[in-house]
């Protein structure tokens, strides 16, 4: 593109200047040649009068312009004694004379002040005593105007050419780069998670590029899932021995027990941390929209069976059209934990409702269990907020006396042991809701128990 601009803006004017110069040169050359041959004709005529040895006054060059006064076309023959023979066109004026051995060409001013081109030479005629000086002159006005017209035409056509070239260039850029712009928009869509692959309806080379990029994306996805699996397998393989160590530690005397538990907690924290990171890395980049009902189906099926075994009515009706922008696993985690908790506390009923709002999705999960007091709800949410610190800090927050926390008090609220061994079900829910820029609220349910409300935005959070 820059090369084309250089071509148009630099080469065209240069070519113009060159062409104009050469044209002027050629035209001037042929003008000079004409003057020289006229000079030759005069010399020949002068020599053709061998008898009188005098200058013939009726020298006629066959061009009427030499007879018209001040026509711009003149000739003149002078000798050293001022015997002068001139064309009628010169009338009472004379051309300036200089010494010139051979044919000399020069510019001078004519009688009317017009620019003249003069061809002249000194000559000796046999039988004529003195040296003669012969000049032929013609006005350069004609020549100049011819050159000027040519230059104007040249300039105009070059300008037109330049404008056309630039316009063509602009169009080429506009049309030629359109597929690239489409590709760019496509990439952005992939980055934001709207698409998984580039579309390949593109011109030749670009299609190949898009296909190659798709292959890279596929390989990335495979690598992410492989490393996810690898991290997961490693973490899971460690869990059984960690369980054994934890159980064994309980049987040790106080001092070593404490130490062993602390070390085990560190292993446990590391395992969880890396497992969580491995799965988060996969979901953050490529989470598109998922159907709520289809994604939750396996979780809901399992929990419906559990509800049936516990004799709890499970009211669950979700519209097929509802969708949410979330990693499927995260969505299952979020709803699964809330449902699990509701089923744990419910006496006879659990109800799940979801509807779309203008800017997201609203989900509520209610039960008719003992519920929580406002203070308990507040505490439950605060407890969740501390999960992160615990993950980073000295490991296992779910301390050595798990039974003390929820023993004999079904009203104490969120089942702190649901979900993972060391985490809190609600804390996981809160983490996920925060990660996706949503909101979690705990309220009293009209059914009598707890109502957990979740709002998830339809646009991706930062």
């Amino acid at each position: 593109m820059i090369a084309s601009l250089v071509l148009v803006l630099l080469v065209l004017p240069l070519a113009g200047v060159g062409l104009a110069y050469n044209f002027r040169d050629a035209v001037t050359g042929s003008f000079d040649q004409r003057l020289s041959s006229l000079l030759q004709v005069i010399l020949v005529r002068l020599e053709q009068d061998p008898v009188s040895r005098r200058l013939d006054e009726s020298l006629d060059l066959g061009d009427p312009r030499f007879s018209r006064v001040f026509s711009g076309w003149y000739w003149q023959v002078t000798d050293t004694r001022d015997t002068t023979l001139v064309s009628r066109s010169l009338w009472d004026q004379r051309l300036p004379v200089i010494q010139a051995q051979g044919v000399t060409l020069r510019n001078a001013q004519g009688p009317r002040g017009e620019p003249l081109r003069i061809a002249e030479r000194d000559v000796r005629l046999p039988g004529y005593p003195r040296r003669l000086h012969v000049s032929v002159a013609a006005s350069r006005e004609e020549l100049n105007s011819e050159v000027a017209r040519f230059e104007w035409l040249l300039g105009l056509s070059l300008l037109t050419l330049g404008v056309l070239l630039l316009a063509g260039l602009a169009l080429q850029i506009q049309w030629g780069l359109a597929p690239l712009r489409r590709l760019h928009a496509n990439l952005r869509a992939i980055e934001s998670g709207e698409h998984k692959r580039l579309e390949t309806r593109l011109p030749g080379e670009l299609r190949e590029l898009a296909q190659a990029m798709n292959e890279v994306l596929e390989r990335d996805e495979r690598m992410i899932s492989r490393s996810r699996d690898a991290a997961g397998n490693l973490a899971h393989a460690l869990k059984t021995p960690v369980s054994v160590l934890k159980t064994l530690a309980d049987r040790l005397p106080e001092a070593p027990r404490h130490q062993v538990r602390e070390e085990v907690a560190r292993i446990d924290t590391a395992v969880r941390h890396h497992l969580a990171r491995a799965s988060a890395a996969g979901s953050a980049i490529l989470s598109g929209r998922v159907g709520l009902k289809a994604t939750l189906a396996p979780v809901v099926d399992g929990l419906a069976r559990l509800a049936e075994r516990r004799g709890i009515r499970f009211e669950y009706a979700l519209d097929e059209s509802l969708n949410v922008r979330m990693d499927p696993q995260d969505l299952q985690e979020l709803v699964g934990n809330l449902l699990d908790n509701a089923l744990r506390w419910a006496e006879t009923r659990v109800a799940v409702k979801a509807d779309a709002t203008s800017d997201g999705l609203r989900l509520s999960i209610e039960d008719d269990g003992p519920g929580m007091t406002p203070q308990q709800r507040e505490r439950a949410l605060k407890r969740g907020a501390r999960l992160d610190e615990r993950h980073l800090g000295a490991g296992n927050g779910f301390d050595s006396s798990p039974t003390s926390g929820f023993d004999s008090s079904p009203t104490s609220g969120f089942d702190s042991s649901s979900g993972t061994g060391s985490g809190l079900g609600l804390a996981i829910v809160e983490d996920l809701v925060t990660l996706y820029g949503g909101q979690l609220q705990l309220e009293a349910s009209s059914l009598g128990g707890l109502c957990a409300r979740v709002w998830l935005p339809s646009t991706a959070s930062a």
Binding site: H236, A237, K239, T240, P241, V242, S243, V244, L245, K246, T247, L248, D250, R251, V264, D268, L275, P298, V299, V300, D301, G302, L303, R305, L306, R309, R310, Q329, Q332, E333, V335, G336, N337, D340, F398, S400, S401, P402, T403, F406, D407, S408, P410, S417, G419, T420, G421
Partner: protein, 223 residues
Amino acid sequence: MKILLVEDDRALSETLGEALRDAGLIVETASNGSEGDFLVRTERYDAVVLDLGLPDGDGTRWLSQWRDDGLDLPVLILTARERWSDKAAGFSAGADDYVTKPFETGEVLFRLRALVRRSHGHSHPVLSSGALTFDTHSGSVALAGRPINLTAQEIRLLAYLMHAAPRIVSRSELSEHVYDRDHEPDSNVIDVQISRLRRKLGSERIETLRGQGYRVVAVETPA
């Protein structure tokens, strides 16, 4: 309370079994699915702790078969997988609860007790019959608020009777749920232990119904 632990990892099976026994439970173990299957179908357990990753088929497969065959006892699954799709698969197969590894022994115990309690229709962790109370978590017995000192075996007997109350429990049912299958007592031993309980709690609290079995009776005033 007698439970079956189906776990292929020997170290975990031994340590967890030991910890649960320390808490007063009778624990029998199976190291694979088919052994567990055999025991579940031939013995009487109050609950099963089932590991999902068994060498001879996934735990959910065995569980589904038990449920299909009408075996309705509470099942707690142990799993290393934390994903909800995995947990949900366990529930779909008929599990009653789950614990993810690595777990606390206390948590397994808590869940088991809650499951057994619920299977007998109790929602509160403290069972009471008149002035007599039994805390399912601590295993402590009190009479009108005063703690009563009982042996582990006596507690097991009373716990089973109180879970079942006001149902009558036959002698054979009692021996199946309260004694290890390798040490099943003759009926005489049960009679002796029941009479010891009566001495400590007051004879009117445990009723003997000739030819049928035993029953805990609600009596308000301490003897």
